[in-house]
Symmetry: C2
């Protein structure tokens, strides 16, 4: 490129006169600063920089720089298994924290797991299995110190709904379970693949607002489904939408509700909610809501055992398989029609699980101010689900409620997950028979009290305050889940998120600038009403990169500003506009369509006898304007460093002509 | 909002001291300008403004403002049928131009139509039908003065390919034709709906680069398919990809090529290309390439007729149905399995047809500097295809080649389309039997010479120069079409376009700013290498709105800049960084996730004992920062109008501490 070298020469000869001179404009144009053209990078470098910024923006290889071969190997092992890094600094004080935290989350997870497995239409032991293997794997590979791994409500519900669309869990329990493992396997593969190829940013496309709405809707759906166990209804709809569920509930009000069940459920739900309330009021009592579920299970089981309430229609768990996870490698469908279905379901469930885990990881990492590599996390989560799928686990991820308890109980490292895991093994080996008389109503009460936390009113109110469009996305996802289904709610959430991105790039903002009195600063007239327009000049700022998706709009919008302004001038008998200054500071990039649009704008202005001036094009833009020869079309001397320079350059001309 | 009124008061008391004073920083903060907070709009107004900017950005109701009722009615009719507006100013001089242009494009379209119908696997008369009704309708409803309406090569090929995937045109010609009309009907419905709901901006999502690649690929695919007619091969593959076609061509080289056919085809192809060459060289001879195809048809038909070459294996047209379009209302599938298929095919073909027509309309409108309402155009194009589908036409749109000829022949209005339409009627009524002996090779030669223009090397080279990523999109679409199929090429083009948009919003640019010597202007250090950093201060500019899709990246990127800078400082023994100034000028919007990210950034900085300062947040951003209470978190006095203000406010502090 001939231009860039020329420009570089000129830049070295730059004059040092201050921009404040622009208020007493000199006719000698050489005194005004030139727009810099960055040195031309070669294609490979440019490409490398883009790839790096897209996929390796967190610079994961930084520690490997300037290290010896063996050191690199050790660092590599530590990168895959962070436990070998932080494990060396592990000590008894830390273990004390982790032990208490681990025991606390174990007491919370055991009753939850049994309930969540039912959400996924699986036998209770599969929930416990999923709290044994995945947390162990995660402890070795994960880098979050606070996350608590295991089955979670929303993913269990989503998985259950998606699987049940394919196979009926009551008539074909074996095939259903096999499909569940297949889906879990592919959920893990999806997660690990996204992480390995550093595509973690894809989960950023689900907006915060959409997640808030989706989670809230899922929580209500789950709570409503618990009415089956809570009210002791035997004939219950299989659909999850609010209308079907309420229909089922009211339809069975006269001869389907079981009062004993309701009494047990309501008593313990009140207890759980009260414990929660106390825990919120007094942070030191955080352990009370954490162990309340286990206490409820113990008390209610004992109560049912001595009163034989199960003979009066109180439904009980009946049977939980004893012993640790059996292998399920042979149960995964690696061919046949269920392969594709398992893959599809696994992908969706895996992505949702990822979103939840990464959100939790980031939240706590930012609270304790440590870095979390999202992509590495994904590999860890993926690996734990792949191994999980071979050891009779279904999709596990980070749980909001248990992670918060973990954090408050003073966990130090992922060892708290190992502790929890050990407690779960002991439970599986020795205690499961004791759950026989646990009433289902208790499990329902535990799930209801757990998912209530997912309804985040505060966040919804904040979203309403900050961004109305986000609020619509939030509501859309929420109502989609409760009135239609989890999948549709999720689809709505994703679609609205994308729509917002597309809208953003299709309709960028533009602003008319005015001079702030007594300065050489030009700002948006809407924001600074006392800024003044320059007579005969219209200054427009384009607030976005100019791409194919908006180039035509930008061109037409500028022309419309011009028409508006000219009509206004006619009314006010002011001098007509002779110059259009386009402030390009926020225009970070331009593509071929954008340059076409600028050319068309230039041609339209010429026909109207107006001059086009550009102010402060960025490095990429000026480079492309040169490459496309547009700088020569409008003239190099029509491109200025600042709006003030541009105005001062044209003011004398306006005076001459006036 | 309490803030906004406070702010407004302060703004009125603004001091008029120039910003250049920041070089001699005053300790009195009151002298520095405050960031303006725009007056709070009510929710409805805000919503209305967004909707207007999204769907009515071209302000179509502007002429209706302040008009009487009857005048509004007339304007409404004129808006739907622009012919009633320009028709009143129509005169003989204009008609002369339109007559000549109309006759020229008619002579060009007749042979092209016959060939294009074959691309769509339809009998030749359907091409002619489609050049009769749609142009008439368009002339009444369309607002482009230069577009020439009729069947076009790419849409014919696309339609043919998609239809043939559903029904075999040789074994089921009737059902195939019915599905073609169904698809045409829904193509029209799609186009009219998009226009009516003002969703025209959706076609902007197909990037220029992707279109260039797709068109080039389609042109080559079409040209290759013509080898069948050109070489006189009887057994030819039905697939359209280059490998299958070349296999067919070489497989039949010994006993499938017909030398008489090749001689006729090659002779006239040379003639056509020569005529094109002359037309390009001398703009006054534009009519030569325009009538060359008709001359070729006449000469070759006469030649075959007298030599009876058809008996030596030269394939001829044989039969074209005489008479004008029969009704096809009853042939459209309004129910049954083909309804859905027709809808899907029609939607795709309709969108591609729209893209082509709108691109042509815009090009010529900008050349003659008149406004074109894209949405109104879509309604016109949709209406013409809906009527067309009921009168035995298949999807028609604007043709690049014929529109260019129309323009060069001096067309003035859409009347040239009416003239062409009349010529086509006469042809259908009287001349079709004469086409009986027209050799297929001539039609192939005409199509080849027509589609060659769609391969736009110049555009591809420009794209390569300007934007490498765009070039990849272009190549992707090109190779997708020629090696796989038109649909896949189109899918690749759309996907790459979207990927680019998503990449843009996921990985916005950030830049480190420095002070340009002798000014108070802060600019990208990469672009202005002689700009200097302020000791102890890091100034980062974020070059995009902060949304959920990039909020996390932006936060981490800023922290990475900080780490890089601190490492650099350690090496250079410079004072450590105490202040981070974030220049927010290009940040046009922020959502809840963005504010979370800023809060997290603020917390991280606090832990590192760094101060966060914001410079020049825009109206929307400052409003949301207030709404979320973030301004109070970091302190109102940490937000400045310009980077220069921010620097001057913290310089004394740095001096104190140093």
């Amino acid at each position: 490129m001939g231009h860039s070298t020329d420009e570089k020469h000129e830049k070295k000869e730059m004059d040092t006169r201050s921009l404040s001179s622009s208020r007493h404009p000199s006719l000698n144009m050489a005194y005004i600063h030139k727009v810099g053209v960055p040195p031309k990078q070669n294609l490979f470098k440019e490409f490398k920089a883009t790839v790096k910024e897209t996929f390796f923006s967190d610079d994961p290889l930084r520690p490997f720089k300037d290290q010896s071969g063996s050191r690199k190997f050790i660092l590599g092992i530590q990168a895959i298994f962070p436990i070998f890094e932080w494990g060396r600094r592990y000590n008894l004080t830390k273990f004390r924290g982790d032990l208490i935290a681990g025991l606390t989350i174990a007491s919370l997870c055991i009753p939850q797991d049994i309930g969540y497995a039912k959400l996924a239409n699986l036998a209770p032991q599969y929930g416990l299995y999923s709290s044994f293997v995945p947390p162990l794997i995660y402890a070795f590979m994960g880098s979050s110190r606070d996350i608590a791994i295991g089955p979670v409500a929303v993913v269990s519900l989503l998985l259950g709904t998606l699987l049940q669309n394919e196979i009926d869990p009551t008539t074909n329990p074996t095939e259903y379970r096999r499909l569940a493992f297949t889906a879990t396997f592919f959920a893990g593969i999806t997660q690990a693949t996204l992480g390995f190829f550093r595509l973690g940013f894809l989960i950023d496309f689900l907006s915060h607002a959409a997640i808030v709405g989706f989670m809230g809707g899922a929580a209500i759906t789950i709570a409503l489904q618990q009415l089956k166990g809570f009210l002791g209804i035997r004939k219950f709809t299989k659909k999850a939408d609010i209308i079907s569920v309420m229909h089922s509930v009211w339809g069975s009000v006269n001869h389907g509700w079981n009062w004993q069940t309701i009494v047990i459920g309501a008593t313990f739900l009140s207890f759980l909610l009260f414990a929660k309330h106390i825990g919120k009021r007094n942070n030191k009592l955080f352990w009370l809501p954490a162990i309340a579920p286990l206490i409820s299970v113990v008390l209610s089981t004992f109560f049912v055992y001595i009163t034989h309430a199960e003979k009066n229609g109180v439904e009980i768990v009946k049977h939980i398989e004893k012993g640790i996870n059996p292998s399920s490698v042979n149960e995964i469908y690696f061919h046949g029609e269920y392969l594709g279905k398992g893959f599809r379901i696994g992908m969706v469930a895996g992505m949702v699980a990822l979103t939840e885990a990464i959100a939790i990881g980031r939240t706590f990492a930012s609270m304790k101010d440590y870095q979390l590599d999202g992509n590495k996390e994904m590999v860890a989560l993926g690996a734990m689900n792949i191994v999980g799928s071979m050891t009779s686990c279904y999709v596990a991820t980070g749980s909001f409620s248990r992670s918060a308890v973990n954090y408050m109980a003073g966990c130090q490292t992922a060892v708290s997950n190992i502790v929890m895991s050990c407690v779960v093994i002991l439970t599986l080996e020795f205690i499961t028979p004791l759950f026989k008389y646990t009433p289902n109503a208790i499990l329902s009460a535990i799930i209801i009290s757990a998912v209530i936390n997912l309804i985040d009113f505060q966040a919804a109110i904040l979203i309403w305050k900050i961004d109305k469009f986000d609020f619509v996305a939030c509501l859309g996802a929420f109502f989609g889940v409760i009135f239609l289904s989890v999948e549709i709610g999720l689809l709505i959430a994703v679609s609205i998120s994308f729509a917002k991105i597309l809208l953003q790039v299709t309709r960028p903002r533009t602003a008319i600038l005015g001079k702030i009195p007594g300065t050489t600063v030009y700002r948006n007239l809407q924001q600074y009403p006392d800024a003044t327009k320059v007579p005969g000049v219209l200054i427009v700022r384009i607030d976005s990169a100019i791409y194919f998706s908006n180039s035509n709009y930008v061109k037409e919008r500028i022309l419309r500003w011009l028409t508006d302004e000219e009509e206004q001038k006619k009314v006010d008998y002011q001098p007509r506009i002779q110059i259009l200054i386009v402030e390009m500071s926020p225009v970070t990039d331009i593509d071929t369509s954008g340059i076409h649009a600028l050319e068309e704008l230039y041609r339209s202005l010429q026909k109207r006898d107006l001059q086009l001036i550009l102010a402060n094009p960025g490095p990429v833009v000026i480079d492309k304007l040169h490459a496309s020869n547009f700088t020569n079309v409008i003239g190099e001397d029509k491109i200025f460093l600042t709006v003030a320079d541009a105005v001062s350059s044209c003011s004398p001309k306006l005076v001459e002509e006036a």
